[in-house]
């Protein structure tokens, strides 16, 4: 079937979805009716990030906030799963069932873990488990009774070998800053948190290659590199909490992707442990290595479903001394697009970020965060942050100024400011990075992380705004330079009617425009069943085969990434 028949008929998609869900219930074989649907291969997703602006302390604050602000999804233990899975095809609600093939934890398991890890690193304390069971948005909650804290690869291997033999499901966890429920258990999966594996193993000042353990916090790595005069090739709001292992496992994107590219390019090697405890040493430090299949890529962005990343080798970049940041107002989205094209053409070699937010996002930040002011005097429809990073202070500054003044004369830009010191730059970034936090404070929030052709990015925001007709606040912001939109719908509380209007509409819209429903956040548990909106059945089938090859019992991060129906009996 052709792509344009997709475009013609929304009903078609809905019926396609329906047949898909019945297909999924029939499990593993590819039924011909599904293959005939002609799902087109989507653009490769660009990576995943955590939009959280919160460090650990702030996370706790937010969680507390939500304790008071009663979360309707958390009323009953499994109510939220029902809600989550009412998405694929508006009428076909399907609830995740615990896979009965998995064993339940027994006292002998705990004793075994204590034996290999030591008492201290086997956590049964309810308070600590409560935190580890819950994602930072307080949207997803599991009921695991055990968290393990391995100190090295060997221990991870022993844990997995045992869990595999016992059919105990596990969830790998890093900083737990994900936004799609990928890092928390769905049911009673054993949590394996690699936070104690936080050593830098080596740094080569000539090549800039950093080798470290998976549990290193991104911000700590950045601080370490700073003393050496280097920077990490990725930066994101959750840097104070997120782990490099989690970044790699989820192929985090973030603010500097436009400059340094995705982790598929910057990660030079990794070590991963597969479900049966096999340690795969792919910890190369070479830029070029064409010996056979480059298997490390399987572990970048597979969200811990194929193995647990234990070590990472990553290419870092020399720190440039000259950083400039401009905060720009544009009257319409077309101007934003033109400005992006011009910025790439005129600032190419020093451009390091090109971010946008709409006026709704700005208002939200101004209303919910303290000490934030709009850097430009009058409100506009769109705001853009342009950051340059280079080696020549005067040269870079003159270049940026000349570019912006020309854009002002041409009418692409209606107003703007350039940060004169780091403090001003931080306050501009605070607006962009603070949106997630402001959304948390504003109440319930439905988050979508979409890759779309740049010219389509704001159309979906407008279309959804029209569709919801004032029922909720629809906001668009994100990494314009990477074609990545963060579409957020903020409402007083979660409700099914609203969700029914948003999903599957957003996924269908994205699919119709050949976008990705998961740009940099990953699929997690939130969108595992929606993968077909962006990937063909043939592609998904190969993914399922790979998963079954590497993890025959399906114990690694179950119910995530791929539709769970493929793996239940």
């Amino acid at each position: 079937m052709m792509i344009h028949s997709w475009r013609r008929s929304g009903d078609f998609i809905r019926s396609a979805c329906k047949s898909l869900s019945s297909f999924r219930q029939k499990h593993n074989s590819m039924s011909p009716s599904v293959s005939d649907l002609g799902f087109v291969n989507r653009y490769e997703s660009k990576g995943k990030t955590f939009e959280s602006n919160a460090g650990k302390g702030r996370n706790t604050e937010l969680l507390d906030h939500h304790h008071h602000h009663h979360h309707p999804c958390l009323g009953g233990r499994n109510m939220w799963t029902m809600q989550q899975y009412k998405s694929f095809g508006s009428s076909s609600a399907s609830k995740v069932q615990r896979n009965p093939l998995f064993s339940s934890l027994e006292p002998k398991d705990v004793s075994y873990f204590k034996e290999i890890l030591g008492e201290k690193h086997v956590v049964e304390d309810e308070e600590r488990l409560e935190t580890a069971n819950t994602d930072w948005m307080h949207k997803y909650r599991g009921s695991s009774k055990l968290m393990l804290l391995p100190k090295n690869t060997e221990e991870v291997s022993q844990i997995l070998k045992y869990c595999d033999s016992r059919s105990l499901a596990v969830v790998p966890q890093g900083g737990n800053t994900g936004l799609v429920g990928g890092s928390v258990p769905v049911f009673d999966e054993v949590i394996i948190n690699v936070g104690l594996m936080n050593k830098v193993l080596s740094f080569d000042e000539v090549s800039g290659v950093l080798v470290c353990e998976a549990g290193c916090i991104l911000e700590n790595l950045a601080a370490f590199l700073d003393t050496k005069g280097f920077v990490m090739p990725l930066d994101l709001g959750a840097k104070g909490s997120c782990h490099i292992g989690g970044n790699v496992s989820t192929n985090a994107g973030g603010l500097r992707l436009i400059r340094y590219g995705s982790l598929h390019g910057t990660v030079l090697g990794l070590e991963a442990v597969t479900a049966n405890g096999n340690v795969l040493d792919m910890l190369g430090t070479l830029r070029k290595d064409n010996t056979g299949y480059d298997l490390k890529h399987l572990f970048i962005g597979s969200e811990g479903s194929l193995g647990i990343v234990t070590k990472v080798s990553i290419l870092t970049q020399p720190k440039m001394s000259s950083v400039n940041l401009a905060f720009i107002a544009c009257k319409d989205f077309l101007s934003c697009q033109k400005l992006l094209v011009e910025a790439k053409r005129n600032l190419g070699e020093i451009l390091s970020a090109f971010e946008f937010l709409d006026n709704n996002s700005m208002d939200l930040v101004l209303n919910h965060l303290d000490g934030v002011r709009n850097p430009v005097s009058s409100s506009e429809n769109f705001y853009i942050l342009i950051e340059t990073t280079g080696s020549g202070e005067t040269y870079d500054r003159e270049k940026l100024e000349a570019f912006l003044l020309k854009s002002l004369e041409q009418g692409l830009v209606s107003d703007g400011v350039i940060a004169q010191d780091i403090n001003q730059a931080s306050s501009f970034w605070r607006i962009r990075e603070g949106i997630t936090e402001a959304l948390q404070k504003a109440g319930a929030c439905y988050k979508y992380d979409l890759s779309l052709p740049v010219e389509e990015i704001y159309n979906i925001v407008n279309d959804l705004r029209g569709r919801l007709d004032g029922l909720a606040n629809v906001m668009g912001y994100g990494h314009l330079g990477d074609g990545n939109l963060h579409l957020n719908i903020s409402a007083a509380e979660y409700n099914d009617k609203l969700l029914g209007l948003i999903e599957p509409y957003v996924y269908e819209w994205t699919s119709k425009h050949r976008g990705s429903i998961s740009a940099e956040h990953g699929l997690g548990v939130m969108k595992a069943n929606e993968i077909f909106y962006s990937k063909s059945p043939e592609t998904v089938a190969l993914m399922v085969s790979l998963k079954k090859l590497l993890d025959p019992k399906g114990i690694l991060n179950p119910y995530k990434v791929l539709p769970h129906s493929f793996f239940s009996p």
Partner: protein
């Protein structure tokens, strides 16, 4: 009335300072330099006074190496009408700066001189006071509120002092140094950055101003503050009391 504002180029407030290995000073190679935050507040206040119709011209002045021009450009982009750069190869201590500013005041005849209460690099907090003394003008330091009277004969200034506010009335011309809570400085907007490009920056030398600089102060050594030692977790109240008594000697 004309307002003269002194602005200093310093290591950016957000940069982690590193002391040079030979302990002669702070490393400024490849380090982000910005306008001293207190000077930014001083300039903002001068601009607000001008916008309120109490002054005709705001003149920013900076003393130091050629890169001070960048700091003056920032000042012009914020809204200063013109700038003066007094070229000097080495950095001076407050008395020398005060002498230069005094000579400039003799030439420019401002009705008010604004300075930041201190610079975040040397934390001297002396220049404003010295300028006032050399000129024989009244001074109001640590200003948190400045109000001019209609005839520009005097200024009413609130100062933040221990335990409250002190309100002074001083005759003009006068010297005012600004504290943190006086105002929130504006950003440099694109239209103003564009305008700033055509504003003049006048270069002057110490000879032009006929100032004879000789430093009476020699910097012996610059060192980092001692690193904080990591704490220990005590296992009981008894152990804590024991440590307070026998190790810290505070109980």
């Amino acid at each position: 009335m004309k307002i003269l504002v002194a602005v200093k180029r310093v290591v950016d407030y957000a940069v982690k300072i590193r002391v040079k290995p030979d302990k002669t000073g702070v490393d400024t190679q490849n380090v982000k330099m910005s306008m001293n935050p207190f000077c930014e507040i001083a300039l903002e206040e001068a601009l607000r006074i001008k916008e309120a119709g109490f002054a005709k011209e705001v003149v920013a002045v900076s003393i130091g190496p050629s890169q001070c021009v960048d700091t003056l450009r920032t000042g012009l982009a914020m809204g200063a009408d013109r700038a003066i750069h007094v070229e000097a190869s080495s950095s001076f201590l407050p008395l020398s700066i005060a002498k230069i500013l005094k000579s400039l005041a003799d030439v420019e005849n401002p009705g008010l001189i604004f300075l930041g209460k201190q610079a975040i690099d040397d934390d001297c907090n002396q220049t404003g006071q010295m300028v006032a003394a050399l000129l024989g003008w009244p001074q109001a330091t640590f200003a948190s509120k400045v109000v001019l009277d209609k005839d520009k004969k005097f200024a009413t200034v609130d100062r933040e002092v221990d335990g409250g506010l002190e309100t002074l009335s001083i005759d003009l011309p006068a010297v005012i140094t600004t504290d943190l809570r006086l105002n929130q400085p504006r950003y440099a907007t694109l239209p103003n950055i564009m305008k700033a490009k055509s504003k003049p920056i006048k270069k002057m030398t110490l000879e032009d101003l006929k100032v004879d600089i000789k430093s009476d102060i020699e910097i012996v050594e610059v060192t980092e503050p001692p690193k904080r030692k990591s704490g220990v977790i005590v296992s009981s109240v008894d152990e804590l009391i024991d440590k307070l008594k026998n190790e810290a000697h505070v109980v």
